[in-house]
């Protein structure tokens, strides 16, 4: 094999490798960065809305120590209503964890289960399936609080 032929072969090989990597680069990357940015913005905005509601209740005369409870209830109401109208799923597709991590995600899972299983009846469907997603949050929260509470009582 003379040098010319060798160089040609090498060039073809390099071409192939380059093409391969180019194809890899053209493949859509997992949209991790976009997801993170959206989660930050949407989650931040949900909390700003919550802060507005919190400030409103405080201005209305609720002591600031207790204003958290009605704030959470208001946000739950909003999320439940948006779930009922079928808007929440569209928002959640863009917001990701920005809507799942705040209490909006909890409210959405309860409400969507309640509506979805309505067809199996109010008692056996809505009543018993309502917490089929959110139940694990309550269970593990309560178990954690129980263990910590017992330890703190014994210390």
């Amino acid at each position: 094999m003379n040098t010319n032929e060798f160089k040609k072969k090498q060039a073809v090989l390099i071409d192939q490798v380059w093409l391969k990597s180019w194809h890899k680069a053209k493949k859509p990357r997992p949209p991790l960065v976009k997801n993170i940015v959206m989660a930050f913005l949407v989650g931040g905005l949900v909390c700003v809305l919550g802060q507005f509601i919190l400030n409103t209740y405080t201005a209305l005369g609720v002591p600031s120590e207790q204003a958290g409870n009605p704030t959470v209830a208001t946000i739950i109401f909003m999320a439940a209503l948006l779930t009922g109208f079928g808007v929440f799923d569209n928002l959640a597709r863009h917001g990701g964890a920005g809507l799942a991590v705040p209490v909006t995600g909890f409210a959405n899972s309860v409400t969507s289960m309640a509506i979805e299983f309505r067809r199996e009846g109010l008692v056996l469907g809505t009543g018993s399936k309502m917490f089929s997603l959110a139940g694990s949050i309550i269970v593990f929260g309560v178990v954690t609080a129980f263990v910590i509470g017992i330890i703190s009582a014994l210390i």
Binding site: G44, L49, G50, T58, V101, V103, S136, V142, I148, S152
Partner: protein, 117 residues
Amino acid sequence: MGTYFTAFLIGGLICVIGQLLFDLTPYTPAHILSGFTVAGGVLGAFGLYDDLIQFAGAGALLPISSFGNALVKGAMSEASRSGILGVLTGMFELTSTGITAAIIFGFFMALIFKPKG
């Protein structure tokens, strides 16, 4: 209790942690959100979560980790008042609003709206 800026910043950052766990770990959202609740409870045991709420207001109050914190606070404060049985009686002292609201609104939405499909 918090400003709009700190609420946005801390609330957004907690959600970013959630998004990273969603995208980079094989765990389901149910696993991860349960983990947030447990983490909030553990931070609450040392009083750290209350500091975060003081700083970030709704930015720390709305993420589900706040639920774990409130459970722990209810159990611990009632236990210190009335002994070890207080762990049971005080558990939902602070979180009953959220759970009641979710049940009531979820139930009435199921009465009003029809399931899709």
